[in-house]
């Protein structure tokens, strides 16, 4: 089975997941993103790399931040951006996912940025494009179900590299709801691919995927154990609907045991950085003092996110 993300020359054809993406391509994306961050400081923030191309933001699930950063990234590359909030239009009228895609292809789309509530939806679209001989159209996964959020994983790697330079000497902890998190899956895939020797996941067993160790991580139930001497703390968002019920008794208890406070963070290395994919639940997974503290790099993550998305889209648009 050929990796559906790569074309026959081994170049990036779609960005669907970081799981199974070669290390060389991940590094290439991070390297490509570097000059784009500097560009953002300039007065004229535009490059003509995607001039004349149409990028369709196809969001079947609500999103503000990811959609906006993709839009900014595409516009800075001079693409025409069309935003479709499909959750309120065609699917409500019974149109299938692939019918929607076919219709947009008929409008001369060059790239789809897809968010969908079902794992594997971007794979399905990519497969469909290949089956119908439309190799010139690229798919970028902007988050699918619990499966993957590759650009988030990449911007997290960019952030880590920015502050820590290397990956091979790091200990990284991922904290919270790993089970439902596409962000965590993409982070784990990227960290292990880039050679981080120790990736820990911390949280209650109810929020842990089955056989999580087989993803190449070590499980730590408590923050005391899990945060000891780490270089990077990656917090995950806890969805409101999962705070009370059979997975967790209450947000209060979650905060008490796994919420990141200055006291718990003291277990980490003194120069450890704190990351969060946003939007944050202050007082549930992270204390405001930490979120706004000197070790937090949460806002730089957002800035780097634009550069990384520019890198991905420019690489896809170049072949």
């Amino acid at each position: 089975m050929r990796n559906p993300q790569l074309n026959k020359h081994g170049e990036l054809q779609h960005l669907l997941t970081l799981d199974g993406l070669p290390r060389s391509i991940i590094t290439q994306i991070l390297d490509t993103a570097a000059p784009f961050t500097e560009m953002a400081e300039r007065e004229v923030k535009k490059l003509p790399l995607l001039r004349g191309k149409s990028v369709f933001n196809l969001f079947f699930e609500n999103s503000t931040r990811t959609r906006t950063t993709f839009e900014i990234a595409a516009k800075r590359l001079s693409a025409d951006v069309i935003n479709l909030n499909v959750s309120t239009s065609s699917t409500k009228k019974g149109e299938t996912l692939l019918d929607t895609v076919d219709n947009l292809c008929a409008m001369q789309a060059d790239m789809f940025v897809v968010r969908h509530e079902s794992s594997g939806a971007p794979h399905l679209i990519a497969q469909h494009l290949e089956n119908t001989g439309r190799d010139h159209i690229h798919v970028v996964n902007a988050g699918d179900g619990r499966h993957a959020h590759p650009t988030q994983g990449l911007l997290d790697m960019y952030t880590i590299r920015h502050y820590k330079k290397e990956f091979h000497n790091l200990t990284v902890a991922i904290v919270g709801d790993v089970l439902h998190s596409r962000v965590a899956r993409s982070q784990i895939a990227a960290l292990t691919t880039l050679g981080v020797p120790e990736v820990r996941v911390i949280g209650p067993k109810t929020l842990l995927p089955t056989d999580v160790e087989k993803m190449g991580v070590r499980y730590c139930p408590t923050m005391e154990e899990g945060l000891k001497d780490v270089d990077v703390v990656m917090m995950l968002r806890l969805q409101n609907e999962r705070m009370n019920g059979a997975l967790l008794p209450s947000p209060q208890e979650f905060f008490k045991v796994w919420g990141l406070t200055a006291e718990k963070l003291a277990r980490a290395k003194p120069d450890a950085i704190v990351m969060h994919p946003g939007p944050m639940n202050r007082g549930v997974e992270i204390d405001s003092a930490v979120a706004d503290g000197s070790q937090a790099v949460i806002l730089p993550q957002v800035t780097f996110g634009i550069a990384v998305r520019m890198a991905v889209m420019s690489m896809l648009g170049s072949h």
């Binding site: 299938t96 996912l97 794992s119």
Partner: protein, 426 residues
Amino acid sequence: MKIHIQNGRLIDPANRLDGQHDLFIADGKIVGVGSAPDGFTAERTIDASGLVVAPGLIDLAARLREPGFEYKATLESEMDAAMAGGVTSLAIPPDTDPVLDEPGLVEMLCYRAKKLNRAHVYPVGALTIGLKGQQLSEMAELVEAGCVAFSQANTPILDTRVLGRAMQYAATFGFRVWLQPIDPHLARGGVAHDGEVASRLGLPGIPASSEIIALFTYLQMARLTGARLHITRLSSADSLALIDQARADGVDVTCDVAVHHLHLCDMDIGYFNPHCHVIPPLRSQRDRIALARAVAEGRINAICSDHTPVDDDAKQAPFSESEPGTTGLELLLPLTLKWAAEHKLPLIDALARITSEAARIAGIAKGGHLSVGARADICIFDPDAHQLISRSTLKSQGKNTPFLGLELPGRVHHTLVEGTPMYAAS
């Protein structure tokens, strides 16, 4: 019509017969094995040189999609598929729309099938009205209408007391109860085996424990009620020990497995292949190996296709939104032969799983064997010829199978139903 099938290798698992024997058919029945009865003059001769002559196959689970889902398949299209697959008897699960919980519906289905005059149809009635798990169906009436057993298909009964009573009521008459072990709470929302692959792909899992816990309950209920229990579609290795133990305790229990579970595991989902979305889910490689071995050892009695034609639209969706199921009538024989070859199992033992043993489970006395006097349901096939499985060669309206594009052994040359040639390979 009087037919003489000559020069074939006759394999009849029920009578432990495997050798060069001619077969003689008259008035829809087998009238001679090896030698013709006195005064027999064949009106037609079928040359089976180099071919196997076996009883027509019996499939313990074939969804024909009527009534209710005619856009997915019809009796006509699926009967053609059965004939092309050498399958002459079909047990039909009750999960049609409306479900098979009313004698009139069952009679209608049997009547429609009989009019088409191809494979024999054996409806499995709903154990509870609407498969809702609340009110018992009219089992005695349903049997009169033609049902051979009672099941809940893939919809388990939530209330264990209702389950116990349904089994008790069936046991009153000695009716067979076919149950698929699914704990509804543990399986809720799941679409793939809860293991490494589902975790990586972010697919909601169905843990093996959902099967084992339900199975434990069913076996316990069989002990208490004395019901004749048949467990359908085993998927996990750890279920086997429970079945063994129950048998050792004297519980009357048989079990089957879907043929794709002998060949595929969760790794085959690959990049979200919706053709691998089946219920029960494809489990780990360890489970697959244990199941395949258990059928060879006879601990699992029968193999079925769990034939579920699904239209392309319902499959062309993200994995968890795609409709589960795989088409299988035309793959039952090839995949059974492939499994037998992998286990170096004699053909006669392999065929027993899809003929005589299946007949015993479904209570079919007239079919599944080639004794003199039996119904002349025959499948004549070449066990060594391979053929490509493709959308265009499949007769079933459902083209949904993970085996598309593969070459599989076993080419059916002739299918006879009650002595009438219904299918001949072109």
